[in-house]
Amino acid sequence: MNGAFHIAAIGLGAQQRALDTIANNISNVNTPAFKRSGVRFSEMLATRADPAAVRTDLDPAVSPAGVMADTLFMLDEAGKLEATGRPYDVAIDGHGFIEVMGPGGETLLWRGGGLKVGEDGLLATAKGLPLKAAITVPDDATTIEIGSDGVVRAKVGEADAVEIGQIMLVKADDSAALQRLDGGFYRAEEGARLLDAQPGEDGVGLLVQGALEGSNVELTAEMVQLMMVQRSYAANAQIVQAADQLMGIANNLKR
């Protein structure tokens, strides 16, 4: 058995995963409200694959078995807010989320972005998912105003703006309990505690109208990581070659 082969192959796989993550981060460097994923490496031990399995004797057969990589998205790192001036763009300056109704009637969490008025008159995300607050915008409204406290007002003609609804924010106690979906939506896992609050309270943050939250990907950091991954990948490939050489030597013993 040649363990070096397998360990290096596992190393290649882990670096490949890290590269995939970095690629995804870099390609989303301009996606509003995108949260980058971080790669977390940890060592693997051969007999420790199942942490629930209890062993009383450690000495025999505990051997290093390479590395594993898993990813964690950095939800708590805020992106920069960029003013767009569009009244239908909304960003959250804080840790909260806006609740929207998903396609299957489930509640999804959203970090903000472009809004539009759906065909049924409800305020919805640019993808057409209505906000859970169910705010109906009057047909003849010329513009809407979203206060930093979440109060939505519509202006009809020359009259003063009238209040048409209130956007609430929710906050997850532990960001690890959120599952990332595409399109900038998140789903809270079952049993996750969500805290409902008015914007500005309990650290959920304020709503900012006319702005979008930028991606929190830092290109320089990603590039440094990319180079690290590239080099480690090459190093692992070298080890595979060396292991191959060792086997070649053994094969050539018999002339």
């Binding site: 890290a18 977390r40 060592e43 399995a53 060792l246 013993l253």
Partner: protein, 235 residues
């Protein structure tokens, strides 16, 4: 003559194990808290040389890795000598790998699923990950202390048995509180693997194996020559 073939096969299998160790070091070049393992051959006494295989040992190089900022509240790096105490099943392990997350039951676990232990014993249980961790390991949840992470150091370094580059086993009474260790929140300790060293060691290992193979060939040559020579003499 018999010793020649034994040492040759010993060299071959030792180089394989040496390469295995290099391989593990290289794959873990990005693993936080990983300490590179150095292989070395123990000096064999006199003529009672066993095969070289049984004398190959690994020793961790416990030098401090560089700390780099990640910003995650549950990324904890130890600056100075010290280890986290972890529980795997009912076993106690030690590690410097400080990337934790909160498991569904509130315990704080490593990616391998080992549970972080409090100072004074018991699993650390947190309600949320947005906590503040002070240098001495005290955890503050909104300025209210909710626990303290234990950091330990071995009175006798030989009492710690490395299970890999980042996980160690030790008897509980062999460990004492680490006075010199400081916890840094939002940081990880980089692995202390130096790629250049590993590559040099790798090349040396391959050459060592070639040397072993050459020994086998010479032995084979000598044996062949002996057989032909003595075969002719018997005519």
């Amino acid at each position: 003559m018999q010793g020649l073939i034994e040492s040759a096969s010993g060299i071959l299998s030792a180089s394989e194990r040496r390469l295995e160790n290099i391989s593990n070091n290289v794959s873990n070049i990005s693993t936080p808290g990983f300490k590179r393992q150095i292989s070395f051959e123990e000096v064999m006494s006199g003529r009672e040389a066993e095969s070289a295989e049984s004398s190959l040992r690994h020793r961790p190089d416990l030098s401090q890795g560089q700390l780099s900022r990640t910003g995650n509240p549950l990324d904890l790096a130890i600056s100075g000598a010290g280890f986290f105490r972890l529980r795997a099943g009912d076993e106690i392990l030690y590690s410097r790998h400080g990337q934790f997350k909160i498991a569904p039951d509130g315990t704080v676990v490593t990616p391998q699923g080992h549970v972080l232990q409090q100072s004074g014993g018991g699993d650390l249980v947190l309600e949320r990950s947005a906590v503040e961790v002070l240098e001495d390991g005290t955890i503050l949840d909104e300025a209210r202390p909710v626990g303290r992470i234990g950091m330990y150091v071995a009175a006798d370094p030989a009492a710690m048995r490395p299970l890999g580059g980042s996980i160690y086993a030790a008897a509980e009474d062999a460990m004492e509180d680490a006075p010199a260790a400081a916890l840094r929140q939002g940081m990880v300790e980089a692995s202390n693997v130096v790629l250049g060293d590993e590559m040099v060691a790798m090349m040396a290992t391959v050459r060592q194996a070639e040397g072993g193979a050459r020994l086998v060939q010479i032995y084979d040559d000598l044996l062949g020559r002996a057989i032909t020579t003595f075969g002719q003499g018997g005519k």
